[in-house]
Symmetry: C2
Subunit: 402 residues, 2 copies
């Protein structure tokens, strides 16, 4: 009989957002009169329409697919040259040395974060920040990687944990951070790159939220740090800058100079391994979606992305002001679309979830869902309509503890 | 230092179609005067535009994405209910008992065929037909599954190998077959289901080409066979019926009754494992693409799919007539868009590839690229314009061996 993957039974039974949905649904059923006033500040999904540049590009690409002469079937496994060139071009504009063929397009960053483990072997010592996006840890459990340590994010380190004293092989870093909204300075990232190079480790850098950075000098990419192209792979997404959560597109940047090793000690570049992985297990991104991604790099597209991220960052500012008025402690919301808020005294994350749901019909994300160090915090997302955010601010003001 | 996946070094260095492209490119450079007359009958990519029903659905969905009120962000990980319902509904129309939530939408069948191994454990005895779509074998090598046996497809068994005398745990079957174009009768599939049930094995059934079946009585789905829902998972694609090779969408059907086992002997359904896999490692299919997939099930869409597949099957008929006139031996092309042709006496598959390229500028796919048993054959694809197919037929006629 077919054996199933034993590792799946080591996973915690429920995925964070499924549990939130379940609890909200229960509350709705028990309080049907309040159902309409529930505002979700939980999940990090965008709410505003796609940029017009993308809409135009999508319509044009669909029209091409309707005519034999311009129809496109299978595209290149790694993405069309037009979009890889646009992406790598932006890196180069910002002073980084990234070649077009170091960009691998995908149908989303979640897939890349998960699938990257395919090219890594067993036996790696893995470091994951805590709190963290659950996918990093869950996919390691699924892959049977048992040597996973957590980097403790705390108030003291501002949720940017420094490199530990012990060696590791693979490190997950995410800045601007989901869920805390923390960003790493150039010096903090340089310390990580130095650590990785000293230990010949690989940094998996999730930069999905780079478009929200507003503070000058905060790196948008790990490759802004000298030496990173020898020890880092970067994951990027169009979900949050272009609002592609429903369109699905992201990419991973793998410099040809980033090396791992075989058990016999031979050094091997990750680049050809990922190329082989993608050509065997993936068949490219939907053509119209690639055209929409390309459009994000046009002059018009860039301006629209700026407007879109500015909109959410204005939401962040409103939420920060409301929290300040309540005198609640938080970080984030300055260079990231998330606020990481300390629970009221004596309340756990799920207590606070219930408190906010029951008192002001606001759905938050319990910090403990992101790891042990998230206990005592909750996440507020800035992805919402202005009207909803203003209403959330109004409701929060009623909670001011005197 | 980060260990890489050792198994990748057990893969053969070049992927079949990459090698074909390389050889065609070399030929083009050496014979620039012939470059324009090369006709590719190799890769199985569609050539005709998307059905109008899909084009309309795509434009409509793109317009929805342009407006806040109808914008859609993250969709359900397993696909929207509207498309899962349409797919499962077609199964039910055909008399099979498949629930909507037994359908999992994906961005293409290649991904599903590859990713399904994530939920299977190590130690499985794998059976793969030879010749075969290389992804089945390559992904098993990548996953470190070393107990892989091949079922020999031959002229004698019509490339529909019967179950072996020994037990296995996981069996890959693909009918209508890529590359041979062979189809399995109800009795032949029933023998496989009986074998799987006797051995508590799992059949991974690739039905990507079911829309090309024209002979009454040939099963379109493994689930037409009683008992299959306890021992089979089916992979389906919109690439070939709706021409979605550039749009990317497929699905996998996992009955809740299909079981595997843990090492301790406990039985476990595959369904919740795949659900967990997808919710952790995948983020759903592009919304406009899901609307296009749904459109394939409308009355208009069904008629257009019939026209589209009829078009390619007319190409198949023309190719069969041309091969008959040449008195070349082949199978396929009746219920599948591929013809599996015997090489001329004394020629290997790659000899024949060169012979066809050099003499009539036709690109074929060498049978040996699909496995040991493919040696001595080549594949002709019917995915081409009518003009190209007519020209191929004309050129083949010049090769008639007297």
């Amino acid at each position: 009989m077919a054996f199933v993957n034993e590792n799946y039974f080591k996973l915690s039974p429920s995925y964070l957002f499924a549990e939130i949905s379940r609890r909200v649904e229960t509350y709705r059923k028990e309080h049907p009169e309040k159902a309409a006033s529930i505002i979700r500040c939980g999940i990090g999904d965008v709410t505003e329409p796609l940029p017009q540049a993308c809409i135009k590009a999508l319509h044009k690409a669909v029209d091409e697919m309707a005519v034999r002469e311009t129809f496109r079937g299978y595209g290149p496994d790694y993405g069309y040259e037009f979009v890889r060139h646009a992406i790598a071009g932006e890196y180069r504009e910002r002073g980084m040395t990234i070649a077009d063929d170091e960009i691998f397009l995908s149908d989303g960053s979640k897939c890349d974060c998960a699938n990257i483990l395919d090219i890594l072997g067993g036996g790696n010592r893995i470091l994951i920040a805590d709190p963290v996006y659950p996918v990093y840890n869950d996919t390691n459990v699924m892959a049977g990687n048992s040597d996973v340590s957590f980097l403790e994010g705390t108030d003291e380190n501002g949720f940017v944990p420094p490199p530990p004293g012990t060696a590791a092989d693979v490190i997950y870093l995410c800045f601007p951070n989901n869920p805390t909204g923390a960003v790493a300075t150039r010096e903090q990232l340089a310390a990580w790159v130095a650590y990785a190079r000293k230990n010949d480790a690989l940094i998996l850098f999730d930069a999905a939220y780079e478009a929200y950075i507003r503070t000058a000098g905060i790196p948008h990419s790990i490759f802004e740090i000298p030496g990173a192209s020898e020890c880092a792979i970067e994951m990027r997404s169009f979900s949050k800058n272009g609002g592609f959560t429903g369109l699905r597109c992201g990419f991973v940047t793998i410099p040809k100079t980033a090396l791992g090793k075989r058990k016999n000690g031979t050094l091997e570049a990750f680049h050809p391994l990922w190329a082989r992985r993608q050509s065997t297990k993936f068949n490219g991104v939907s053509y119209p979606v690639q055209r929409a991604a390309e459009a994000l790099y046009s002059e018009e597209g860039r301006a629209q992305v700026k407007d879109l991220t500015d909109f959410y960052m204005r939401n962040a500012k409103l939420l920060r002001e409301a929290l300040d008025k309540c005198e609640w402690q938080y970080i984030g919301g300055v260079d990231a679309p998330y606020l990481w808020v300390k629970c009221l005294p004596g309340k756990t994350s799920w207590d606070m979830f219930s408190f906010l749901l029951e008192n002001v019909c606001i759905v938050s994300t319990p910090g403990s869902g992101f790891g042990k160090m998230g206990e005592g915090y909750f996440r507020l997302s800035c992805f919402n309509s202005r009207a909803n955010i203003e209403e959330v601010c109004r409701r929060l003001s009623t909670l001011k503890v005197a």
